[in-house]
């Protein structure tokens, strides 16, 4: 049994999913506007730095965007963790 259907072309995916992607860009834009209008400052907040770096990934022209955004938002793995915890 084949794994996938006939692959959709890039043009087909864009036509089918443009409005969904557009709405998500607008949601993000409105979120940033909301922050700007609000009292206080989040400029140096860690979350804002992560969002900014995440947006850079979206525009960098490289593949694996979802995976790289996930790793950006993740704590690092230390292969020596068992030794650090005293577990054998």
């Amino acid at each position: 049994m084949s794994t996938n259907p006939e692959p959709r072309s890039a043009e087909q995916i864009l036509a089918e999913e443009f409005l969904l992607a557009r709405s998500r860009v607008l949601d993000l834009a409105a979120f940033l506007d909301r922050l700007e209008r609000a009292q206080g400052s989040t400029e140096h907040a860690t979350q804002m730095q992560l969002l900014s770096q995440g947006l850079n990934i979206l525009c960098d022209g490289e593949p694996e965007k979802a995976r790289r955004v996930q790793l950006l938002m993740s704590r690092e793995y230390d292969p020596a963790w068992r030794k650090n915890y005293g577990l054998h």
């Binding site: 084949s2 794994t3 259907p5 996930q70 993740s74 704590r75 005293g86």
Partner: protein, 270 residues
Amino acid sequence: MDYIDPHIHMVSRTTDDYETLARMGCVAMSEPAFWAGFDRGSVDSFRDYFRQLTQFEPKRAAQFGIKHYTWLCINAKEAENVSLSREVIAMIPEFLTAPNVLGIGEIGLNKNTKNESTIFLEHVELAVKYQQQILIHTPHLEDKYQGTRMILDMLMHDTRVDRSRVLVDHVEEHTIEAVLENGFWAGMTLYPVTKCTPQRAADMIERYGPERLMANSAGDWGPSKPTAIPDLIMELKRRGHTREQIHRVVYENPRRFFAQSSNFRTHDLP
């Protein structure tokens, strides 16, 4: 389309939800033991919870023609209490012969602490001793990558663990590859905000193929949608996947995985 939800917490859902799931095509489900929203105070609280999972919920599901299976453990969040965890682990064998118990789960990590890791290893020891399958919870959000790697490290360090009898749940784009390439089963959890959308799950199915991959709703008392699997079915249909391709992920794969437990009754399914 008939489907199986391999991870859903029906103790926190209404009887109306059972009826809706049956109407949507759900023919069987498995319910891992999890956190109740508060830390329980004694081993008897867990004993009563396990009675609910092994006696009450199967009857509630049966009213709508749904087969209900379950997994037993003390969850990672409460595993910080090591002494209580050990009392619960010692009590679990009382329930392993109940006819709807598939194994030990959902065990795993929450904040990736030493205590959680200690209790995880003791659950694995229990599963090995009683030849039980294992269902794994991987942590949320920023803790997921680190915790998943720690869990895989612990499982692969133990040569007694049969990886084909372990389901690692809540995989996402940054964890799915390590789970599948090391021979474990992987589950994608469809949640409205955290975890995975039907669209991203469909992407992972297209990218990694259907082998040892399944999807679940993990419906519980938090923001979640018990009918999320039909949403994934719709997304896959929209993309042109055939009925057979979809059926493999939402029915055949969980059936094959569950069938490794002696308590799973394949002949009861449609």
